[in-house]
Amino acid sequence: MNPATATGMSFLALVRQSWHVLATIGPGVVFIVIFLVLPSIMLMTVAFMTNGPYGLPEMPFTLQAFRELAGFGFLGWSPGNLYTLWRSIWQTAIATSLVILIAYPIAYYISTRPAHMQPLLLLIVIVPSWTNQVIRAFAWMNILAPGSAVTNAAYNLGFLSEYMGLFPSTFAVVLGLVYNFLPFMVLPLYASFQNLDHRLIQAARDLYATPVKAFFQAVFPQTLPGLMAGTVLVSIPAFGMYVIPDLLGGGKSSMIGNLVARQFSDASNWPLGGAAAMIMILATLLGLLVLRRVGRRAGGGREVVL
């Protein structure tokens, strides 16, 4: 075989290889570039532009939007936006914690049912999410409105003054978030429970672990990957949630998603909206890093998240 044919062969192989790469990940890459990379670049560009007199972003590039986001406006400094960011964080944290507490026993229970019952029980958990989010939020508005059975019960128990509703309130927002994201925690946890190695529980019991210790030493570590996956699936969309705080929250419970949305609609301040969206993405990435570290520590050095 002479060198020329060898090069020809390798060139052909290269073409075949590139074609293979293109055919497999090509469409995905194109999609991501058009619908994620380009819009993100546009968003970031807008965030550094000036808000023009007619509500459209204009040149020159400034840090004006970030200053506004931090609270420096015409009337001096106000903490409103920072409050919104902080509120998003803690409402997400509380909702995610509640989702974990509720989903964990549900997932365990389903995994212990006879095999033919499990798909049905999972379906019951998932079915509500087949309905439009807005419709479900409106349903909660009815349930929590003044005069409803739940509201009357809350009034009779002394949690509420007369003629008040349970919404709009922070309570309603957290409730809505928990309700909305529960399936996203149940499913990965169920998968973990289904693969649970019961022999490890017995080994722990055999090695002097009380039932409670056996849970934390042998069961919990095994469900950690599912728990972490569920936490990511719940906390990230919850943090950017728009519909639920908008409908159930009222002005005092709005989250950063609402802040962003307002800038692109009523307030017509695209640079501020872009800046807020950027901060939101950064906060999400930071949250993922924290989760990753927590997961790695709890999982004994193994990668549990991502």
Partner: protein
């Protein structure tokens, strides 16, 4: 448990294994003798009609290597799990070291198990796995550390301590599982087919290692297996189980050479089993080969011929208990030669030690001579 033993030469430790155990336990302030186990009328059912164990009575002596042998589903693992406390018996008495522990939860029993699949905790290192039992009992960290090092060097896995469990080979995982159980100095160590996942060579090696460990520590070992050869090699005594009942209890020699019923005989690998009927007096039996005469009085509906007790003579030899036969197959095994014979309508296997004698060939007419001393009579 093994600090002394680990420091001494294995031979010295083996001489006074039990003494060494006592000494080191005194060091840690919990002097403990090996414990006996006593089961009375133990019964276990699963659901309504699956009987796993039916009225099991059993005494396991202190410091004994005891094996529960039987086919899968015979109840041997259930019995082991009841002793460990991982399964609840329906009724009966379970005493370890003279104390009834049937109602004691697993975590308060001084009994540890080496599981069939090892059941090592994948999220912990080897060191953390081994120290698990000590940590659960709130042993001070310095003592944990010291005992892990001692046990690891005793089991010869010191270099594995800081590895993850996924990085272990089968044999290493088996040793770690053993160390994880032994470090707790239990009254009794339970082993649930601990070698079944290993390949043949490693298995033989670990069998001997396990046996030496048991002798050195003088600890009571209860071993579960379905492999009769493994059971014979390792055990002081064997209980053969089937259908939730103990079929026979005895030393490996007793079980192999004098099985008491057809099940035990077949399970121990015997194939030369033939129905017999008394013929006239008490010392003559009608067998498929012809009349068999025995010296001592024995009863049973079946006769068992051990392949290695049979003698093959040239054709034409006559005498009591000699029958004409023909070689139908021959397997040369080096140390022994195995013959399949046709004797009347029956097939007989005879194993002859290879002492350099001339071997018979397939098709040869021979005389099969039974040794009345090693004839075994069985009931079904």
């Amino acid at each position: 448990m093994n600090a002394e033993a680990a420091r001494r030469s294995p031979a010295a430790a083996e001489d006074d294994g039990r003494k060494a155990q006592g000494d080191t336990q005194a060091d840690t302030g919990s002097a403990r003798e090996a414990s006996s186990i006593s089961l009375r009328a133990l019964r276990k059912t699963f659901g309504r009609d699956v009987v796993a164990l039916e009225q099991v009575d059993l005494d396991i002596r202190a410091g004994e290597f005891f094996t529960l042998l039987g086919p899968s589903g015979c109840g041997k693992t259930t019995l082991l799990r009841i002793i460990a406390g991982l399964e609840q018996a329906d009724s009966g008495v379970l005493e370890v070291g003279g104390r009834d522990i049937l109602s004691t939860p697993a975590h308060r029993r001084s009994v540890n198990t080496v599981f069939q699949s090892y059941a090592l905790f994948p999220h912990l290192t080897v060191r953390e796995n081994i120290s698990f039992g000590l940590r659960m009992r709130r042993t001070p960290p310095e003592e944990c550390h010291r005992r892990v090092e001692e046990t690891a060097s005793f089991i010869k896995i010191a270099e594995l301590l800081d590895r993850g469990v996924e990085q272990l080979s089968g044999g290493q995982a088996q040793r770690v599982a053993l160390a994880r159980a032994l470090i707790n100095e239990p009254d009794v160590l339970l082993l649930d087919e601990p070698l079944s996942a290993l390949d043949a060579g490693l298995r033989t090696e670990l069998q001997l290692e396990l046996l030496r460990t048991q002798k050195r520590l003088g600890m009571t070992f209860v071993f579960v297996t379905h492999d009769q050869e493994e059971a014979m090699v390792m055990s002081d005594r064997i209980a053969v189980l089937n259908d939730g009942r103990i079929q026979q209890l005895g030393s490996p020699e007793e079980i192999y050479e004098r099985p008491e019923n057809l099940f035990v005989a077949r399970f121990m690998g015997h194939t030369n089993i033939y129905p017999v009927e008394p013929e006239g007096g008490g010392d003559r039996y009608a067998s498929p080969f012809g009349t068999v005469e025995i010296s001592a009085e024995r009863t049973g509906s079946h006769m068992l011929l051990r392949p290695e007790s049979l003698e093959l003579l040239p054709a034409g030899e006559t005498g009591t208990n000699c029958f004409p036969a023909r070689v139908s197959e021959r397997f040369y095994r080096g140390a022994a030669v195995e013959y399949r014979l046709e004797c009347g309508r029956e097939s007989v296997t005879a194993t002859l030690t290879n002492r350099g004698q001339t071997h018979f060939r397939v098709g040869d007419e021979v005389t099969l001579a039974l040794d009345t001393q090693s004839l075994v009579f069985l009931d079904p």
